[in-house]
Chain length 210, copies 2
Amino acid sequence: MNKVITISRQYGSGGREIGAKLAQKLGIPFYDDELIARAAKESGFAEAAFDNVEKRATNSFLYSIAMGMNAYGNQDIGFTHLSLDDQLYLAQTNIIRKVAQEGPCVIVGRCADYILREQENTINIFIWAGMQARKERVIRLYNVAKNKAEDELIKADKRRANYYNYHANEKWGKAENYHLSLRSDYIGIDHAVESIIHYLKSAEGGISRI
Amino acid sequence: MNKVITISRQYGSGGREIGAKLAQKLGIPFYDDELIARAAKESGFAEAAFDNVEKRATNSFLYSIAMGMNAYGNQDIGFTHLSLDDQLYLAQTNIIRKVAQEGPCVIVGRCADYILREQENTINIFIWAGMQARKERVIRLYNVAKNKAEDELIKADKRRANYYNYHANEKWGKAENYHLSLRSDYIGIDHAVESIIHYLKSAEGGISRI
């Protein structure tokens, strides 16, 4: 199995747990969004950001940054003109590309599907679930107050969608951006892992004629 | 298996064929969009449409129709004020509800996922595929000219999205409207059928804790 698997997920859908179990079953590394963010921060991200500005100038996110920079009248575009968030995003981009090049792995969140869109061995997964199941999950596992759970879920999804829509040129949660998308609460965590493995095995022969 | 399975699909993704094979494997009836449309036409749809206007007055599609009618200053809302397309949609709605109540089946297209959204045993599937595979498929199977294939595909998808967005209060192709969404050209038609059966079997116990 020579695949890099990205997982995008609604908050409380079990997507991270599914990703972790999948990586364990496949015996490959697992990188969640917090790990990627921490790695980017620790790497000292100035260098990484410069690297990307040059490589990906046609990207509209970067184009808009560049436009902002030109407003400074500064042709010698400087890293310090980027917002901290944008610097961090660019550093994360490099970390994600690096781990994806090292070999098969599972990466959760951080627009990894978008960042790796040109890497042919990438398989993108989306996990979602019904509101009731997600509420129960975040109350049970993340200590969210019962009367605030729904509000928290809606806000978290909005943050994820905004993050994605800002950095990628795509809408978060469009079915055709994912090879496989699953509603997890109809089948449970373990069956979701199995479904993904089934898809991966079926995809091993390369693109099929349909 | 007590499920009604709806299939939404991109043109040329093999979604109808996947649905037909799925129905055959499960030994349940298969209704495609053409069959539903023909049945609605043959049923004489005036009666069906009336029925729905009364039952579903909170639906925004119907609300907008009702607003249009009021412009006639006519409180006695008449069926003949509906466009032919809207009449046909309402008749199809009734056909879809009827077949879904008769027992397990596979229904392709016609907003069936939206129409049956309150019927708890419905499982919604979305099938899509890469542009190259879809092109090859429509050239091979539907006699579409090579140099017109991409254009035809884009237009057909737009028609499907417009039809859905007009009649449903939802965007076509949003991952969270489908229990399962699959990219078919990575795994082929038969594996896609198997993936769906795997999901259905996993879902048999009812909603799982996640």
